[in-house]
Subunit: 369 residues, 2 copies
């Protein structure tokens, strides 16, 4: 016996063309600790989009029912040479109901339960995943509320845990009006963590002020740097998490930290001894990262940050503790708001695909197969 | 009673002009743990030059006996605003004879002894420093041999200690034919540490091959990147120390590490899990650091590295252990070779100043007041 349904996959062809399509698929019966989940809702996160579309030209793509074929810029094809010819699953997280399970007692105990889970293959009617990658949802939590229980909530918690582990006492966050950024503002308020939120429009300032953010700085304004310096001084935040990556944002943040760190200190050609660090966790700008080191002194650090290795370091117990925090806060701290629910075929129509691929603030989409 | 002599100082005027001059100076008698050292030899290190001249225009400067006055580019003046109007001592290390000491028994025990010491004011006939910043030299070590006992040897040892502390097992080093780079090659050989040496000319390849370096890669050649990848694969070196800073070298090194790290692995849009790190410890290129992150995956880190904070972290015991290693190796692993000895007034003549400020490979200068 097996289960049939549909799934979205993404394939970079040998010719450099990207094909994203809904296709029929069959899932084998779960064995051992596996469960088969009937998916009800799966969010589209920026990290999913990097795999689903990458830098493909969606405006110029050919669309047919349940399928799009798009050109990919040559440098992107080169950078993704490793996936050429492979048909890849996509969709990191979602929620649904367990309809079958392997022999394992924990897996069996989930049958009939609504769960949040991660599998890397969530844009589908079903997914086969390990029961330990699933969290049972309380009865009052809907699939829509539970669908985004992993990526953003654990990333926000990961920022806070990383801050504490490395001895910092405040965080500077960019693209701070994002779904994740809003969670971080609410989490910062409950955990007493000073935050400097960097956004790039008046509307985004308003979004964050409305949910209680204290320090919001607009990078599109002329007084951005002095305001950033003032906010860093007020919060003591010497650790940044940057969603942008390309360009000079990480450098600007550390330069502002150094201005605060060296204030009133005796001149040293090496700059202050205050340790400044920015983790780059996103790629809103895929261009090169540019560091104007003359403004940084020597006590600086820029590094990549990624959720999965962070979770791996926490061990099973640490992950359970974090998952518990998420479940408790799913309708408050970690609530997500979606602009629209879309079906699998609808995902691959031009207007819809271009809308969610724009990653506009406050316009997060939910796939409901 | 006090001691009189001469000292070189560097002053960035309110007008943005840099004045470097030899002047008369008086030293108070040492008290407590202090010693007064009659200086016999002090090397000119790149880090000394950053303070002595910075980016000043030495070619267009005005020279008079014992003095030069040079224009400084506006961005450099801005970056060094903190030192404006201050007359600064310069010269990090040197060797000489202790001629007076405070009451402290250890300080007293050094009277008449030849010592290596650091004080930050070594381009002078005398220096007043703490006895704990001095190491007595064995009888068979000359002042010239002991003059460079701190900066380069401790930096080379610092690279190795940092590598071990962070769990790496090999080092990629740039500007590797430098005095420091040659020490690192010899230290790597005695300590069994795989090294990838990056240089930029055939002559520099020859210098390192002649002292036994195994992996030497020339960045001026077309096949630089494939050769770098091959050397990293052969050594497993996933930690870099970069003297250059500006430009794309750190990025190129981590990109090559990532090529090795992801070899044969299943495609992941996040890149490999292999942690790659480059410490930037020098500033041969003062321009922006440019990271082409598309080639780096997510497990990367770029950070500043500086000797003084490294030493501070080692504590007194760790510093003693490292100093002992240096003294043992002063005529072998940690030997320096100087192109010429120059006097204090000679330091500030046009030809000589431009020669040592060029920081040419194999052309290190020693000040002999």
């Amino acid at each position: 016996m097996s289960t049939t349904g549909q799934q979205v996959t993404t394939t970079l062809g040998a010719d450099g063309k990207l094909t994203v399509a809904v296709g029929n698929r069959e899932w084998a019966d779960p064995t051992g600790t596996e469960v088969l989940v009937k998916i009800e809702a799966a969010p589209i996160n920026p990290s999913d989009l990097a795999l689903l579309f990458g830098m493909a030209d969606l405006a110029g793509a050919e669309y047919s029912p349940g399928k799009l074929v798009a050109d990919m810029p040559a440098p992107a094809v080169k950078a993704m040479a490793g996936r050429k010819g492979q048909t890849l699953d996509v969709g990191a997280e979602g929620a649904g109901t367990v309809i079958a399970a392997g022999d394992d007692p924990y897996a069996q105990s989930l049958i009939g339960k609504r769960v949040a889970c991660r599998s890397g293959a969530m844009y589908a009617t079903h997914t086969l995943t390990d029961s330990r990658a699933c969290i049972p949802l309380p009865d009052h939590i809907t699939a829509e509320q539970g669908a985004g229980a992993f990526v953003n909530p654990l990333t926000a918690l990961g920022f806070v845990e990383t801050m504490r582990a490395e001895g910092f006492t405040g965080i500077v966050h960019t693209a701070a009006a994002s779904n994740l950024g809003q969670m971080l503002v609410r989490l910062g308020a409950t955990e007493g963590i000073p935050l400097v939120n960097i956004v790039r429009s008046d509307e985004q300032v308003d979004i964050l002020k409305a949910i209680g953010a204290e320090h919001v700085v607009d990078s599109s304004k002329e007084d951005f740097v002095p305001k950033l310096v003032a906010a860093i001084e007020a919060t003591g935040a010497m650790l940044g998490f940057d969603a942008i990556g390309g360009g000079t944002m990480a450098s600007t943040i550390m330069g502002a930290m150094e201005q605060v760190g060296s204030k009133g200190a005796e001149y040293s050609r090496y700059g202050s001894n205050v340790q400044k660090k920015v983790y780059i966790y996103g790629a809103l700008d895929l261009g090169p990262i540019v560091l104007n080191r003359g403004a940084l002194g020597f006590a600086w650090d820029v590094s990549g940050w990624l959720l999965i290795p962070f979770l791996a370091k926490q061990g099973v117990e640490g992950q359970m503790r974090l998952a518990g925090k998420v479940i408790q806060g799913l309708t408050t701290t970690f609530a997500s708001h979606y602009k629209a629910k879309i079906g699998l075929e609808e995902m691959l129509t031009k207007d819809v695909a271009m809308a969610y691929n724009a990653k506009a603030t406050g316009e997060k989409y939910l796939v409901a197969p």
